[in-house]
Amino acid sequence: MASLKVYGKTYSTNVTRVLTTLAEKNVDDYQMVPIDLLTGANKTPEYLKLQPFGQIPAFQDGDFTLYESRAIARYISDKYEGQGTALSGNTEREKALVNQWLEVESQNYNPCAGKIVFECVFAQILAGRPTDEAVVKEQLEKLEKILDVYEARLTHHKYLAGDFFSLADLAHIPVTNNLINVAKKGELFSSRKHLNAWWEDISSRPSWQKVLQIIQAGQQQK
């Protein structure tokens, strides 16, 4: 019986952020426990004991429980330091840059990209209303400026924190996949040469390919 558990569903980019981290660290021995937001499984007393904000994912390592996908990803990276891809940087300076770009993803990139994906893809299913085009326009304008900064950064560095793939790059993958492939906003990337090259590189990693298969398998299990 796996002592590692991930609670959630693979339609959640926060959940797949954790699964991608596990894959990068060559950690296969974990169990997915379905918690479907659509059925309110995240609001049961049992689940709220694990994640009192009622969000997914939650994570367990034996009887140690953790939530917040970026905190879980950092924990996995620390715990499995000796195996798989080194994701957190090796020197103090590298670690600082990984954390800096993880914060950029969390504070700047994800809120914008997430809102665009929500409006274009999920507004009808989850909020029972059509896409709010004004919100999409406003967020796209913000995101274009953010991506201009990324383009400049990636012109001089192969990855965000430097010349090594890290959690900072990984954290972007699930939402960017939705942005490009589901919300059909690929032009944001294809129009920026170095950003596009970075995306092609990180999204073709075996870890993400594996998670895509897990997502597809999950969709077939309805």
Partner: protein, 220 residues
């Protein structure tokens, strides 16, 4: 070691950085004032060190980094044996919990607090706003109250957010919460919750914050 912090004394995000430095007993850093009203954060020289045009930026001989929570993590690691040594926890699991609550602050707590403090204090004071958007304030108060109910339950069983030790998870909350209580009409969300209030009274009474409250924040 020469440490510079590009920011302002009254900026809540800059204050997270000063707090972390004070917890490490480092007080001889230089604040390089970035005049936001004059648009200094948008000038090419500043954009070279912070391309998103925001404050703070931290600089020492080895690194230049931005994003206050990244800077705070760097300070906690770099000076781990100085001053308060529990800032990042004492082992892998404690560090995990610290990271969890820093993320909770960043994803759940700070967004509504940020809106309320800007609507009721910063926008009128600095940016010429005439009055707060009451609907926006109320929406964010409702969101914040739900989050604080979770904090109240948690802090009724734990002295600090990550457990029985003060960490950067508590630290990152202090500046905005101080402004929420002192300079907005919504401080009651904190002060009406017994354990949240006790926690905030405790962490804001620390010398590290008192120095900022007394010397940096414009009391006029």
């Amino acid at each position: 070691m020469t440490i510079k912090v590009y920011g302002t004394k009254e900026s809540t995000c800059s204050q997270r950085v000063y707090l972390a430095l004070h917890e490490k007993e480092i007080c001889d850093y230089h604040i390089v004032h970035v005049d936001l009203l004059k648009g200094e954060h948008k000038r090419p020289e500043f954009l070279k060190i912070q391309p998103f045009a925001k404050i703070p930026v931290y600089q020492d001989e080895e690194v230049t980094i931005f994003e206050s929570r990244a800077i705070v993590r760097y300070i906690a690691e770099k000076f781990k044996d100085k001053g308060t040594t529990t800032l990042y926890g004492r082992n892998l699991k404690e560090k995990g919990l610290v990271e969890q609550w820093v993320e909770v602050e960043s994803q759940n707590y700070n967004p509504p607090v940020d809106v309320i403090v800007h609507e009721e204090y910063f926008n009128p004071k600095y940016w010429g706003a005439t009055k707060p958007n009451e609907q926006v304030v109320q929406e964010n108060v409702s969101k914040l109250e739900k989050v604080l109910d979770v904090y109240e339950a948690h802090l009724s069983k734990n002295k600090y957010l990550a457990g029985d030790f003060y960490s950067i998870a508590d630290l990152v909350h202090i500046p905005y919460t101080y402004f929420l209580i002192k300079y907005t009409t919504k401080g009651h969300v904190i002060t009406s919750r017994k354990h949240v209030k006790a926690w905030f009274d405790d962490i804001s009474a620390r010398k590290s914050w008192q120095k900022i409250a007394k010397e940096y924040i414009n009391e006029s």
